[in-house]
Amino acid sequence: MHRKKFIQNTGAILAGGMLARPGFAELLKADPVFGQNEKRYTLNRNWVQAQPADLPVNDCHEMLQDSRGHIVLLTNETKNNVIFFDKSGMPVNGWGHEFPGAHGFSKAGEGSDEHFYITDTERHQVFKTTPAGRIIRQWNYPAETGKYENAAAFVPTETAIAANGDMYVADGYGAQYIIHYDAAGTIKNIFGGRGPEPQHLDNAHGICIDERTAPATLLITDRTRCCFKRFSLNGDYMETITLPGACVCRPVIKGGYLYAAVLRSPSMNTDNSGFVIILNRENKVISVIGGAEPEYENGQPKPFYQTVQLFKHPHDVLVDDEDNLYVCQWNSGKAYPYKFTPVV
């Protein structure tokens, strides 16, 4: 969509947005503080300055911050799959009508070299786009690995791009493999898959590169089993970070901390039970937003659960360049993302 047309269309949104701003009465009431220790926040549920009639969303799956500082949302609403907001919540641009299963959203590069990576669970494909929405490359199901009989078996949920340009694709709703491509886009390795051993995965929903370790490693979600699993960049299993009761979505690392939306708790069978979890460099949970405060016994965390009905099904956390958090949700009444501001 052309940027100018998008702004014209949001003219009506601005008027509606003014009426939606918090009033004097709301400012009188002290805002509750969410989270614990050094990661505490106040909440703004009305951050997005728009109305659904003008700016529709469906499941708000994932977000990133682009090189220009915009907060960018990926939704499977094909009226506008990708929506750019400024930090005040004003929509400033949007594009995308061809991603009905838009799910994973990550980026690589900066400035003119910046690209987005989108996984589509309905098209069974991975896409590399420019920030303006031009598709410059797409990957179909990895037939050459011999692990997939057809496209339907490949349901990619996430990508992660390493410093050398290698790409890792998590098939989190399909056969649970991690497919490793080199920077030219050719398959180098495949690992993970279903099974009971530590190196196996069940709902490998998210993946990220962890540059806090030397050398860098991969952190991969095993959502059914409420944990993250660390692998080397070559696909060798290293360790499990157990988070009892927390069905985590993708790991997001910023400033030494690991953030994750917890979709449901204690298992994937319980509706409207999500919260957000934050771990420090030692993989210890130090803050839970909307859930049980962290407590450790004999070095193990006590099970986590929702304590405040703040979220239904949080699906991703974005941490911006000022350490604000944005949390978007799946299957939550088409809710817009919430913004959390750090309390110093």
């Binding site: 918090p22 009033g23 004097f24 009465a25 709301e26 009188l28 009431k29 002290a30 509750p32 614990q36 069978n269 039970s273 049980a292 405060e293 407590e295 006590k302 659960y305 929702q306 304590t307 405040v308 009905q309 703040l310």
Partner: protein, 245 residues
């Protein structure tokens, strides 16, 4: 001055209910009910008379003894938030001892300890391979030999609803006397919509008598409902305990 403004303030968030590891347990035997809610500034308030807890209800500090059959309810409270809905734990009166219970043979993978599982005083949870007898058929029958020791006026059958695993409550439960005459029929509502996982104690009142033999028959819904992913297929019936009082 601030009170009218407080009334206009943005909606408060509601708390989630306190946690407890069990949904129901037998009274006595030293059984206790623990609750937990890890949130600074929050308290748990509870009742043991089945009523909804409120701001005047006692504050929970230590696990509550399961003494009186009925319901223990607990809610979380915290300034600045709306109280949670209740978390409920059912306290069940232990049944009278019986001579024996003989059930139809259940599916091999859900056999627990066989007939004795139905009167061992242990209630099943959400782990299907513990304490439950599972039947993938249209009905099952359980025969109880009370031993004519005491008058029996009520029966209970503890069952499971876990629709995601194709486990539904029975459509009907019928109790027959020694002569095969039906004493009472209990009907459950047809599952028009999905319902949450739950362990349920179905109870039936029968004429008070020292019975020599009682037969209990549970009939499944004809097939999984239209809204279910397995619609048209046969579902499962799961039972973990049969009680007489």
């Amino acid at each position: 001055m601030l009170a009218p403004f407080a009334a206009l303030a943005q909606d408060s968030l509601r708390l989630s209910p306190p946690q407890t590891p069990v949904e129901r347990l037998f009274a006595g035997c030293g059984n206790t009910v623990p609750f937990e809610f890890r949130m600074k500034g929050a308290v748990i308030r509870y009742t043991t008379n089945g009523r909804e807890p409120d701001e005047q209800s006692p504050v929970y500090t230590t696990p509550l003894p399961a003494v009186t059959p009925g319901f223990i309810r607990a809610k979380a409270f915290c300034n600045g938030f709306m109280p949670s809905v209740s978390r409920t734990v059912q306290i069940i009166a232990p049944g009278l001892p019986v001579d024996s219970i003989i059930a139809d043979t259940s599916s091999p993978q859900y056999r627990a300890t066989g007939n004795s599982a139905l009167h061992d005083g242990r209630l099943g949870g959400r782990q299907l391979n513990e304490h439950w007898l599972g039947y993938n058929k249209t009905n099952f029958t359980i025969t109880i030999y009370p031993g004519r020791k005491k008058k029996i006026r009520r029966m209970g059958i503890s069952m499971l609803r876990q629709q995601g695993s194709w486990i539904f409550l029975p459509a009907t439960v019928t109790v027959y006397n020694e002569k095969g005459k039906p004493l009472v029929v209990l009907k459950t509502p047809y599952p028009e919509q999905p319902a949450a996982d739950e362990t349920v104690l179905l109870t039936l009142n029968i004429p008070a008598k020292k019975y020599k033999r009682l037969t209990l028959k549970a009939e499944a819904i004809p097939a999984l409902p239209a809204w279910h992913g397995g619609s048209g297929n046969m579902g499962w019936l799961f039972v973990d305990e049969v009680l007489v009082w």
